[in-house]
Structures are given as structure tokens and as C-alpha cells.
Symmetry: C2
Subunit: 355 residues, 2 copies
Amino acid sequence: MKIAVLPGDGIGTEIVAEAVKVLQVLDLPLEMEQAPVGGAAYELHGHPLPDSTLNLAKAADAILFGAVGDWKYDKLDRPLRPEQAILGLRKHLGLFANFRPAICYEQLVGASSLKPELVAGLDILIIRELTGDIYFGQPRGRRTAVDGLFPGADEAFDTMRYSRPEIERIAHVAFQAARQRGRKVTSVDKANVLETFQFWKDVVTEVHAQYPDVELQHMYVDNAAMQLVKSPKSFDVVVTGNMFGDILSDEASMLTGSIGMLPSASLNDRKQGLYEPSHGSAPDIAGKGIANPLATILSAAMMLRFSLQAPEAADRIESAVKSVLAAGYRTPDIWSEGTQKVGTREMGDAVVAAI
Amino acid sequence: MKIAVLPGDGIGTEIVAEAVKVLQVLDLPLEMEQAPVGGAAYELHGHPLPDSTLNLAKAADAILFGAVGDWKYDKLDRPLRPEQAILGLRKHLGLFANFRPAICYEQLVGASSLKPELVAGLDILIIRELTGDIYFGQPRGRRTAVDGLFPGADEAFDTMRYSRPEIERIAHVAFQAARQRGRKVTSVDKANVLETFQFWKDVVTEVHAQYPDVELQHMYVDNAAMQLVKSPKSFDVVVTGNMFGDILSDEASMLTGSIGMLPSASLNDRKQGLYEPSHGSAPDIAGKGIANPLATILSAAMMLRFSLQAPEAADRIESAVKSVLAAGYRTPDIWSEGTQKVGTREMGDAVVAAI
Ligand SMILES: CC(C)[C@H](C(=O)O)[C@@H](O)C(=O)O
Ligand SMILES: CC(C)[C@H](C(=O)O)[C@@H](O)C(=O)O
């Protein structure tokens, strides 16, 4: 089984190293090959997603991804900026289904901005469509307005769009995921304003006919942003488009207070997947050895389960993470009085030891 | 000074009646005329925004609006649904600047989902552009895809767009508002993905040159959704587009835990304005006499200040609201042990008495 290892920028190198270490002790036939991505690749090859890296990713069964981005690349032209690598990988590999669990670990309830009773036991799964919507819709660009409020003025524009098969396949993913969990799907739209999301709502409703055992609820995106704050535990699986999913999945992960713990998976229809932590490259703490590697280690567990057909190995990692938390190990982002502060490497070592 | 009074649906009638009562005791030369809007107008005239209502609104100096919407209109064609009235009023009156304060009242800190220390003293102002973006952009509709991932499939699409003057005028509104407050503006965009919001960021940066005394920060919308949860008090004025503003302003108001207290204003370039509570029509509690009228009463205060040049009268209302809270009056949505539960009408009476 081939894994492309793409550490990227900022804390990416440090956290991916720990996940690799954990994978290595599992005694599985894994072939890992590393390549630069994002700013690191731009420095070496003049492009955030060089062909060599893209080809490695395409040929792999799964990609273990760190994080990309740093302020120093802010002035580059958009096509050269680090985040284009992640958009390019999604597009070229067809990674349309993004899984973003928002789980609040028992021992970390206190780290949340929310009152403990609202987040204790929280376990929601946000499924974000990842290759359509306004992210990739054409046409887009700048032009002179010919109509609208200020004809003749300069304007910029983008196209939001979803086709029926794109909505159908992500809806199936959501209903099937719900069957493994609480059997409830909340489809988030803005059907009261957008043609795209009226269509989304219609198609999700049609697909739902094949899943009579799963409850379907429709919710407007503004209301969803509110209900996540008001009663996060009322959700089970949330499915939505690329743009709304970007916003809501980040909001949901921050509710837990421990985004440093949250993995993610992005899959295509062949179950090839990209696995990365939900958090970013955190250039402010890069190189200090204090980043939390657990989100990346848990992403490796998702990889074993979803792309590499090794569910027992995934279970072993997840149990090990629970036991290091129970033993009181904490990186600074999740540290609290009475627990033991450790660095990135010590945390990785603790997980290895627990395995 | 002419006020168009549009109560609308659900709790709209009840809460607007209290705001009208409060306006009447102020002894100002106000001419108020009432008209149906939303579902109520559909029942009477077959349209959520009949010409008679629109003309009344156009001729007024300000509009006092309740709320629209009810589940029973969900099956109507989109152009006939209640929320089209609010979109129509924004468009026909050019109400491009939406002010959505998110304030956490001292006595109501406990009602928030967030820990008290995170919201005590919270006072942020979200300024949402209200007549552009993907809400009104053409073309939009359904068609057969000619390119994209599934050529030949049915698809739906919308157009996001902003022109330079639209961005300039809302940026000026935000910088000017910041001068009356904490002198900091956070402009929320998605410049890493969208052409429209790269342009937004560029134009806001240009306009900022005229306001060297105000600090400007740029933030991606996904990060903004997180930071609102993590450290809401780090914001002063937030300015963003119509779609992101819809989501973030609702998220921000829910952080306070007392959305029943939050007013809003939507202004055009002649300072004509529509004033409405931030919450919706709440059909589940309509007619029960328990809705909180304070958001609507505070919207009337904003109306006096922004559109009717009566800042002292606005102050009187706002002080009265503070004093009824201090006296312990609470509608059920903000009630807690040790305070006195009152209904919609009693709350209105208490404000009148305090004035
Ligand atoms: C970096 C950016 C393009 C990306 C996105 O918007 O999808 C990121 O926010 C994410 O959620 O992975
Ligand atoms: C009802 C709907 C069209 C409206 C909007 O999306 O603008 C509402 O959510 C609001 O924020 O006033």
C-alpha cells in the first residue's frame, strides 16, 4: 500500500513526522514516499504543486498531508500561492467528499468556548462537497459591468454551480455515513435565495427516498451557523456544498475548543483519499516543537480505515490517542492545570508507546 | 416624519405593536401608516410585497418592520414566498448597508452558549453589504451543463459579483462607523479562492488609505467563523459581503444568547432605512403573547437615530430598555432564576413606564 507523504509548510513537517512514526510501528506493508507541497514546493520547484508531487499523489493509495501556507507567500500571484496545491490535489484527484468530524473529547471539554454541558459528548460529522460549487465554477474573473447597479464600473465575478450527479453522489455519501451513526442528516442550503441550493435541496430530497431509515432535515445556512452555537449536539451528519462547508466545518471544529485534535479525510469515488488535520500551518509556532500532532495522527487512522482497508490498525491508533489523553499528556494548545505539558515529539512518542 | 409600519407574519404583529406604543409616548411628530407584508400580504393581495406596500415604504422616511415567514408558505413558488418581500424592499429602496450589532447585555451574560468571560461586555458591529453579491447577481437559473465535471447533466447556477462602487460605498460606511467606536475594521473575504473577494480585498484596502486613523485587518471567512467563537471580543467592526454577512451576523448574534434583544438597520444613501429585529417570525410562539419585543423596540431607537434625526429620543428608549432589564423584567427567552417573567405586552408597558 502506497502512501504519498506531503508535509508542506509551517508545523506541517513536525506533525507529519509524528504520524509517520506511528504508522511505522504498526507493522503493515506500507510504502511511504515524501514530496514537497505548498510554499516548500514553491521554494524548490517554483510551483506549489509540481508535477512530480502531483504524480506521486495520483499513484498512491492515500496521501498524508500536513498543512500549507505562510504569510511570506501572501504577495505571490494567486496561482503560485501555497493553498493552490490543496485546491489542485482536490481537483486532479476528484476528491469530492470531505469528512470533518467535530468531536469533543471528554478530557478536553474545558478547552471549549462553550459551556461544558453544551459540548460534553459532542460528536458531529460535517460532510462537505469539495470539488464543485463556486470554488471551481466557470466563468470567473474581472470585467466591465454591463448591467447591475453600476453599469460601466469595474467588477469581479464568480460562478456558483452544482450539477445533479455532483449533488447525488455527495448525498449518498451522507446518508450512508448516517447509517453508521445517528441516522440523521441535516442538509444545509440557501434555497430561499440561490437557484443552486434550491436544486441542491430538491436533489437531496430525491436521493433521500432511497434511505427511508435515515431522517432528513433541511436547514438554511444562516440558521445552521446559529444552531451550531446554540445546540451543537442536535446535529448528527451535516451535508452541504463546498463554500458553506468551508465555513460551517471550521465553525464546528472551533466549538470543540480542541481543533488540534481533529482529523479530516477527502475521498474520491475509488476511495483514494487525502488525509490532513483540520487546523492550518500555524507559522507562528512552526519549528518550536510545540504543535499538537494528534489531529495528524488521527488523520492517519482515518486513512487506514477509509483508504487502506486496515480498520484494526485504525482502532489501535485511536485507542492509543485516548489512552495518552487519559494519562494526562497535553500539548500547549490543550493544556490545563493538573495535566502534563509535552511537546510534539513527546506526544508522538507517547502514542507509539501506547500502541 | 413618516414611518411605514410593516408588522408581517408570526410574532411580527405582537412585537411591532409594542414598538409603536413606545414611539407614541415620545411626543414626536411621527406619522405612522401600517401595511401588510410577507405571508400576511400574500393572503390579502396574492403577493408578499404588493405595490401598495412598496409605495408606502418608498414614500416613508423609515420603515419599521416586524418579521416574515411561516412554514405554511413553504410550498409556494419562490417569487411568492414571504422572504421575497424583504429582498424586494432591499432592492427597490437600495438598502445596501445593513447594521447588525451583537451586544451582550450585562444582565444576560448567562444566556449565552459561551462562557461568561468570553462574552461579558461584547459589543461588535457587523456591517453587511445588502444589495449585491450572489443575492442579486445575474445570470442565474437551471440549464444543461456544457462543461465542468458532468457535461450534459442538469445543473443550477448563480452569479456572485461586486463592482468597485458597491465595495467602495460599504467600505466607507464601515470605516466611518469604526471612527465612532473602537477604530478597527475587520474585512472578511475569501480572496484565496474567489475573484470577487480578491477584488473586494483590493478595493477595501484602497479605501482604507483615506482612514489612516482606523486599523484594517483582513480575514478569511472560514477563519472569521472560528474567531467569532474563539474570541468574539477581538472584533470591533466587521464588514463583509451579502452572503458571508448573512452567515456571520447570525452566528455573532447567537453568541450573545439573547438574539431577542438585537436590533438591525438597513440604510440607503439617502439614510432612508428599514429597521427590524435580528430574529425571525417564530411561528411556533406566534399569538401566545410571549415574544420578546425589545429587539423591535431597540430597532425603533436605531430608526430615530439614523433616519429621523432624533438621537435624544433614541437615547431615551435605550435607557428605558436598560432600566427594565435592571428592574428584572424578562420575557421567557431571556428569563433566568430570580428574575420576573413577563409577556410581550407587559414588557412594552414596562418600557413605556420607564420612559
Ligand atoms: C486554503 C483554502 C483554499 C481551503 C478552502 O477554502 O477549502 C481551506 O480553507 C480548507 O478548508 O481546506
Ligand atoms: C430571509 C432571507 C432572504 C434573508 C437573507 O438571507 O438575507 C434573512 O436570512 C436575513 O438575513 O435577513
